[in-house]
């Protein structure tokens, strides 16, 4: 699996140039008529997928219950901002912390099993969280929490203005993206990759594998929580679909389609899937599920490296030949 992420042939410098170019596009996007709420939603999912990729792509752990963390944070933020009247920054912070605590609890149980069982345990525990959200009097049941106000950031910046909100989401996305790059390139990230490649060997080298895995899990769920909290502010609601297993499946697909274990992959995957869903929603109705399923099957059978992974492989082949 490739870990270096320069998309253009040549040095790391041209890679940086490419990233600056993409960033410039994202900064300009709302001024050229792209619908800002769509972009913000896609960016939130890109944050979510980056968090997920940290776990699947770099640690080799497939969590099939990540929606539970995104969704719980969405509910906590939504409830605090709407019903308790908290300012948005504290609401987001509290939601993110809630996902962190929940991630620690679930992680402590889930890391007791490996591989396929890890996936099943996280799925089952996420379903438990789903039922708790369904029955809790605070979540509004089937209706969810509607009409969450965006408020003013630090009492100053009016987030009701879509452009202000957009730049806040973009800033958080860039921070998360750089944070993930930093984590993966740190000595800690190298140990995670060692665990992914050969867990028994990492154990034999004296690493406390469970602690590394737990920390990766908690980091991932915390960032997923941040994504959920931001999404609540952006869209103004939190609902049961934020904690549903189908969303856990979608984030797997975003990561797989974009290219797991690459930095850009989850971002590309998130924009592709969210764009596709937006495009298809009015046109094909319930066939969206079928199309998502077909992409899933196609990715697993013939496209396991994902879009970015294939580009990197193509670039390597070209350089070699």
């Amino acid at each position: 699996m490739p870990s270096a992420d320069s998309l253009l042939p040549g040095s790391a410098r041209s890679g940086t140039m490419l990233w600056l170019f993409v960033l410039a596009l994202l900064v300009l996007a709302p001024f050229v008529g792209l619908y800002p709420v769509f972009l913000m939603n896609a960016l939130c999912f890109a944050i979510f997928a980056c968090a997920f990729n940290l776990l699947l792509g770099y640690t080799g752990l497939l969590s099939f219950g990540h929606a539970a963390f995104m969704g719980s944070a969405a509910y906590v933020t939504g409830w605090l901002v709407r019903s308790a009247g908290w300012p948005p920054e504290l609401g987001v912070l509290a939601g993110t912390l809630a996902a962190m605590v929940l991630g620690t609890l679930v992680g402590l149980v889930a890391i007791r099993r490996q591989g396929i069982y890890f996936a099943m345990v996280t799925l089952a525990m996420a379903q438990m969280i789903y039922f708790i959200c369904l029955q809790s009097p605070l979540t509004g049941g089937e209706d969810g929490l509607q009409g969450v106000p965006r408020g003013k950031l630090l009492g100053l910046l009016p987030l009701d203005d879509d452009r202000v909100m957009y730049f806040l989401v973009l800033a958080i996305f860039v921070a998360v993206f750089l944070g993930v790059v930093r984590i993966v390139h740190s000595p800690y990230g190298q140990v995670l990759k060692a665990i992914r490649e050969n867990e028994p060997r990492a154990v034999s080298l004296g690493y406390d594998v469970d602690r590394y895995k737990l920390l990766a899990f908690v980091l991932s769920t915390t960032i997923a929580g941040l994504a959920g909290a931001m999404k609540t502010l952006v869209l103004g609601f939190a609902s049961l679909s934020d904690v549903h297993w189908s969303l856990s499946g979608e984030v797997v697909l975003m990561t797989l389609l974009g290219g797991m274990g690459t930095f850009a992959g989850p971002v590309v995957g998130a924009f592709t899937i969210i764009g596709l869903q937006n495009f298809l929603a009015d046109r094909v109705g319930s066939w969206v599920t079928v199309i998502i399923g077909v992409i899933f099957v196609f990715c697993v059978i013939a496209f396991r490296k994902g879009i970015v992974g294939e580009l990197l492989a193509w670039q390597q082949r070209r350089r070699a030949g």
């Binding site: 007791r112 396929i116 069982y117 099943m120 799925l123 089952a124 797989l256 079928v290 059978i301």
Partner: protein, 295 residues
Amino acid sequence: MNEVFGIPIQAFLGQLLLGLVNGSFYAMLSLGLAVIFGLLGIVNFAHGALYMIGAYVAWLCLEKFGLNYWAALVVAPVVVGFVGVVVEKAFLKHLYKLDPLYGLLLTFGLALIAEGVFRDQFGVSGQQYPVPELLQGATNLGFMVLPNYRAWVVVACLTVCLGTWFVIEKTSLGSTLRASTENPTLVQAFGINVPMMVTLTYAGGAALAALAGVLAAPVIQITPLMGSNLIIVVFAVVVIGGMGSILGSIITGVVLGLLEGLTKVFYPEASNIVVFVIMVIVLMVRPAGLFGKEK
């Protein structure tokens, strides 16, 4: 003696029976999952979808072709078993050399496709399937009134489960199957067509799921989502029992169904999550599952 812990005995036994019915379905589905995982190394997320398709085939048999319940008990497993053959030949056989996680993802995709297609065709509202005439009504046992159909479901499920256990553990076909699980290359060297056995195993597991679907049809609402909701609970059952033992998955399934029924009596709010809570406890105490072996 009309009450147990302050709950009317009829209601208590009624919930317990309902728990036993659910437990029988858990047993049958986790059994299929365990057999497929044993030989294919794939956790079949589509198992719930196959169960759902089984129920719909029964319903379609009745509505469109006038085939009754007893015919559906044969037709649905055959049809879904055939679907299983196609799925294995077309998709799953490409994955055996890969990380088992890919098998989970692929079958997840297949489950989404099946669900989407059925939702488009039949909508999200449930379909009713009538209880067959022969099994309508109830028998008064003196201490409780036993609905005949539920009794039949429990007996039928457990017979099929024990039959499957017998075939796998006590017959020569079963011993070949178990040998292929341990060492497929060696078994192939003895001239046994292992790829064909793999295909038939998946088809068999699919047929079991469909049979469970037909048996469930008269006691539940048939909806496109009935499978996914159930399969997640069955995953928890499988984690609790461990996938190593056939008899283990049958016992775990039935016992968990009963515990769920008991929870419905004493603390209904928790009945949705009790299986997951038990899973957490088992993982803390015995990570490999009750019948699993530590690797």
